[in-house]
């Protein structure tokens, strides 16, 4: 069980974030749920790179050659965190504009743009 626990935790976080996205009645809440989905990938990456009885891959105090955890996944996670935060900021900015233009941030009240274009079927 312990061997797959972090993976399952990441999967749970992914799905619960999706649940928040699918059922959200508030676009800010939706963006935060999306951030939760993204955070599941941080956990998954780090879990894949973790090594038992190894230390952080920084050779300040330890000598080169000591067992360290995988630095690759850490670099990837770092990038992923930046990207995630960036996207969140951008989507929040768009949400503010939606609030200004539509006066609501409930996705139920602003459905697809399909209706705006008229429902003519051209026949």
């Amino acid at each position: 069980m312990f061997a797959v626990l972090p993976y399952l935790a990441a999967g749970w976080i992914f799905l619960i974030g999706c649940y928040g996205l699918a059922t959200s009645r508030n676009l800010v809440h939706a963006v935060v749920s999306l951030a939760v989905v993204q955070s599941s990938t941080y956990l998954l990456l780090l879990a894949v790179g973790w090594k038992r009885d190894a230390t952080a891959p920084v050779f300040g105090d330890i000598s080169p050659g000591a067992p360290v955890v995988d630095p690759i996944v850490q670099a990837l996670t770092l990038t992923d965190i930046v990207v995630g935060a960036t996207v969140s900021a951008l989507l929040l900015a768009l949400t503010i504009q939606v609030a200004k233009r539509h006066g609501t941030i409930d996705p139920e009240e602003i459905r697809s743009l399909e209706q705006d274009s008229g429902d003519d079927d051209g026949q």
Partner: protein, 607 residues
């Protein structure tokens, strides 16, 4: 001289990515003080440079590859710690499409959106860099980075007209769905890293083929592909497309529709042949992709034909044509891939020209509604011509680029034993071509009964300043050049044989792996038979175009048909109403559909 040229060639991929980035930064630094024409000129120079570089790479790659290890981290014994860029003729061809559209778009934008000039140029250059990066990436995570960058830039570009309620809303939906797709992809990348301990495409593929395979790899394949299928706008991942492209500034629509969407399909192909071929069951993958493509082609076509908002109509036609791309890639063989490459190029030209044409309408009449514009397009014969030719291109009329791709694709499908997809491809052509021709007839010729709300304007915001005759050159020029390029695709025999070599190199997995990882010389490039079109292909193309005209006429005059005939259309009406109801959804439902799509693809491949 020759050595210098070859040295330059070896580092060209990185320059093609970093150059536009540097350009973007310089535009931001200098744009504060420099006049507008400086931004335009700098961006144009960079885009032209990319176009030249892309053409150069396409020319010299032939059946081989240019492999560039960033930071000189060349592999030793087939292993490296660095990131690799790989240009083969197919990816270099994508760069040509991207940069070519960028040049067209920048020409068009010369008088465009003056309120936001500097930022707009910087973002366009970032878009150019990220799409080029995605096309050339030879590393899974590097591809993810470019994927995300494409997304971030595109959300900003789609939502940049913040005074438009629909614009910001469309951008938000686009952003949420695409970001979710990226996360799904990243899960797949992580799975592959966990299994193989590698990120380089060639190294991952080699490691996977060296060990017994299991469900982990199949599931990783599903997640990885699902993410890019969101970008590719395949059904049911496509809900963002119409919302985003109906409201985005016209030049951005041309880029999204012509290039970014095609990159999604390109990634499916690249990852299949380098990573998963020979590991994941080919038959089930072929089945999954072709069925997905067929569904996408048909649903996109029906949705396209039943729109009256011209940009929305064009967006759905993109969905429909993505279905055709997916069928072509999904056949999983070289000839079909060569045909798809040609089709993608032809489609990019036609679709970008059409979007730019709709931009002319928007700027002149402040509307892109087919009914409101009834007959008013008579004042713009040039734009009308672009619409007519563009519509015929979507229908696949010889000798346009789309026709060549389509007829070769149909040949390849038949010889692969998948004759049933031929009518599907035909349906996509006829429905999307017919829709555009219907618009042309109504708007530019004023044919058929006058709609009730003709002449009104719903008040879309124009994107350029007051409409001046001077602008017509910059607005119409790119469209006509694009359509001419589309003809050239079919007319120049070298393009056809070039595509065949490109596809043969693309599907040659062992050669790719050997050359990227530096494991001995890959041996002679696989020979490719030059694809030939037949007389019946020409006849078929003419028939498809004629059918599109008939369908367009049906769309215009259906109301005047006898009641007994109209009754026959009733089932079609039910289908259309149902599809529209499904598409009238909100972000939560888009997410739900995305998840259903991933689950369906997963179940199709795993079980």
């Amino acid at each position: 001289m020759t050595t210098m040229a070859s040295e330059l060639t070896g580092v060209l991929p990185a320059i093609l990515i970093a150059g536009p980035m540097l350009g973007a930064a310089v535009v931001m630094i200098a744009g504060r003080v420099a006049p507008r024409w400086f931004d335009d000129a700098l961006a144009m120079v960079v885009a032209l440079g990319s176009l030249a570089g892309g053409c150069w790479l396409t020319g010299i790659t032939g059946g081989g590859r240019i492999v560039e290890w960033i930071g000189d981290w060349q592999p030793r014994h087939g292993q490296s710690v660095g990131i690799v860029l790989v240009a083969d003729r197919m990816s270099a061809g994508m760069v040509v499409i991207i940069a070519g559209l960028m040049v067209a778009v920048l020409t068009y934008s010369w008088h465009f959106l003056e309120e936001v000039d500097t930022t707009y140029h910087a973002l366009l250059l970032c878009f150019l860099a990220s799409m080029t990066g995605f096309a050339l990436a030879g590393d899974l995570f590097d591809a993810f980075v470019w994927f995300e960058m494409m997304g971030v830039v595109a959300y900003a570009l789609v939502g940049m007209r913040v005074e438009e309620p629909r614009s910001v809303h469309g951008a938000l939906g686009f952003g949420i769905v695409n970001t979710l797709g990226a996360s799904v992809s990243l899960v797949g990348v992580t799975f592959l890293y966990a299994r193989t301990g590698e990120l380089n495409l060639a190294a991952v593929g080699r490691a996977l083929r060296a060990a017994p395979t299991d469900r982990l790899v199949t599931v990783a394949c599903v997640f990885l592909m699902s993410g890019v299928l969101v970008k590719a706008a395949a059904v049911p991942f496509h809900f963002w497309t119409a919302d985003a492209e109906a409201v985005a500034p016209t030049p951005v629509c041309a880029l999204l529709s012509g290039a970014m969407v095609a990159l999604g399909v390109f990634a499916v192909a690249r990852w299949w042949w380098v990573v998963f071929a020979g590991v994941v069951d080919t038959a089930s993958m072929r089945h999954a992709l072709v069925v997905l493509g067929a569904v996408t082609a048909v649903i996109g076509g029906i949705m396209c034909f039943s729109q009256r908002h011209i940009k929305r109509l064009l967006a759905y036609s993109t969905v429909s044509h993505v279905g055709v791309f997916l069928i072509g890639v999904g056949l999983l063989n070289g000839p079909a891939l060569a045909a798809t490459g040609l089709y993608v190029a032809g489609h990019a030209c036609a679709k970008a020209a059409l979007f730019l044409g709709s931009g002319v309408l928007l700027n002149r009449f402040e509307s892109v509604d087919e009914h409101e514009l009834f007959g008013r397009g008579r004042a713009l014969p040039g734009t009308g011509l672009i619409f007519a030719v563009g519509g015929l291109a979507l229908a696949g009329l010889p000798p346009l680029g789309t026709w060549l791709g389509k007829t070769l694709l149909e040949e390849a499908a038949s010889s692969a034993g998948a004759t049933w997809v031929v009518p599907i491809i035909l349906a996509a052509s006829v429905l999307t071509g017919g829709a555009v021709l219907r618009v042309t007839a109504r708007v530019f010729l004023g044919l058929g009964p006058r709609p009730e709300d003709a002449g009104k304007s719903r008040g879309e915001q124009p994107e350029a300043g007051p409409f001046r005759m001077l602008q017509i050159v910059s607005l119409l020029g790119p469209g006509s050049v694009l359509l001419a390029a589309s003809v050239a695709l079919a007319a120049v025999p070298a393009v056809r044989s070039g595509a065949a070599t490109a596809a043969a190199a693309f599907v040659d997995t062992p050669a790719y792996v050997a050359q990227v990882l530096g494991l001995g010389s890959p041996g002679p490039a696989a020979a490719a038979a030059e694809p030939v079109w037949t007389g019946s292909g020409v006849g078929f193309g003419l028939a498809a175009a004629a059918a599109a005209v008939v369908v367009a006429c049906l769309g215009i005059w259906a109301g005047s048909l006898p009641v007994a005939v109209r009754r026959l259309f009733r089932p079609a009406r039910v289908v259309i109403t149902g599809l529209h109801a499904v598409h009238e959804a909100h972000v939560g439902e888009y997410v739900g559909w995305l998840m259903v799509g991933v689950a369906a693809l997963g179940c199709a491949l795993v079980f």
